[in-house]
Subunit: 201 residues, 2 copies
DNA sequence: CCTGCAGTCTGACATTTGTCACGGGCGGGG
DNA sequence: CCCCGCCCGTGACAAATGTCAGACTGCAGG
């Protein structure tokens, strides 16, 4: 019997996936979490065999949870399920010890199969996401550029960003300009969109 | 037996919800669609009792599908399920004949209950979404302002917007300025985010 | 009729932004 | 050591953007 922990912030989805997995007779959902913190404490208490984590959770993101889990509860294999395929996260996930990574667009039957594969010590990465990750390549942004671009993401003016990053406005503009060039965008807002789409911020 | 049509672009979620509903012994999922067009043609062919539609579909959005369905297949009750509660869509949905509207954050058990309620001719709107819709109020944007703001949404420069809306750049700036004031934003990008969040564009 | 009002549109002006050139400090490899 | 890349800053210029006053339309009410 494979003991599964499920983490997803959307209650309905979580319940639906639990129902789906419960149809398989070699696995049972032993815990459900709505947040990253909750997932961690449940995993510590119950030592499930496999943790199925949504990429976006209200507090920590799925990859962070997986990395922590990998260190603290090594018997628990982790896998990530996501709506939006973000190549950057895939890479982070794999280096963090995640063994399965798939998009929510895959057929329902695949999920149970992957849970079994992961439980048996195998790995599975959605081929399409893998292809995107490879073609997208690594982030060309430096740490600072990524920081500033992240802050620019919600449309804040330069002064605001400068204050929040504790930088001079001129420096902020330089970083943004550099980020815009590297992403091939026309302005910082588009650059932020592109970088987000690639998982660079 | 309640015959249900399910539309959601994410295959895994669709399958999971189908599994969930199939656990109820008074309902069966007779069709699954990944796009709005597919949902429409399946509904025309099969005349399901209830259509459960995701708000965001690749082609048409869920509300549009529901409105069409309401006109063409009046025996089919419709309900919307959504990840992001957008007050504007709720209003559009209700005037379009949708009888159920709920967020994916609700508990799994609620879904089946609402399907039954809707099938019986009742209505159900997620209380939280309803509250948000009321507090958010109507869109203060004029038709033109909304158009322009929509075009500005993906970070296009003013000239681009002007060409696409067949307006002078000056006029575009004026509309944007007005929209920025009305949304209380600091610039058009933030205004676009706010308006999108409220379902105004 | 004409007054007021809301929506649409435009051009002129001030501010913000993107871009470029430049300089100094810090740390890791060749 | 010396070079290179990253970090942080300045100043100046050009382009994009935000803001304002105002003109024209159609429409509702006195």
């Amino acid at each position: 019997m494979i003991r599964v922990l499920l983490a997803d912030d959307e209650h309905l989805i979580r319940g639906a996936i639990a129902a789906l997995l419960s149809l398989e007779d070699d696995m049972e959902v032993v815990a459900q979490a709505a947040t990253g913190a909750e997932a961690l404490s449940l995993a510590r208490a119950l030592h499930p065999d496999v943790a199925v984590l949504d990429l976006q959770l209200p507090d920590l993101d799925g990859v962070t949870v997986a990395t922590t889990l990998h260190a603290e509860v090594p018997t628990c294999r982790t896998m990530i399920v996501t709506s939006h395929g973000l190549p950057g996260h895939l890479k982070r996930a794999l280096t963090g010890g995640v063994r399965g990574f798939l998009a929510k667009t895959v057929a329902a039957e695949v999920l149970a199969t992957v849970v079994r594969t992961v439980h048996a010590g195998g790995r599975y990465v959605d081929p399409q996401l893998a292809a995107e990750a490879i073609s997208a390549g690594d982030s060309p942004l430096t740490a600072r550029e990524a920081d500033v671009l992240r802050l620019a993401g919600d449309g804040a003016p330069v002064d605001e960003i400068a204050r929040r990053a504790a930088l001079s406005p001129g420096t902020v503009r330089n970083y943004l300009s550099s980020a815009v060039t590297k992403t091939g965008a026309a302005n910082r807002h588009e650059a932020a969109r592109i970088a987000r789409g690639r998982g660079w911020i």
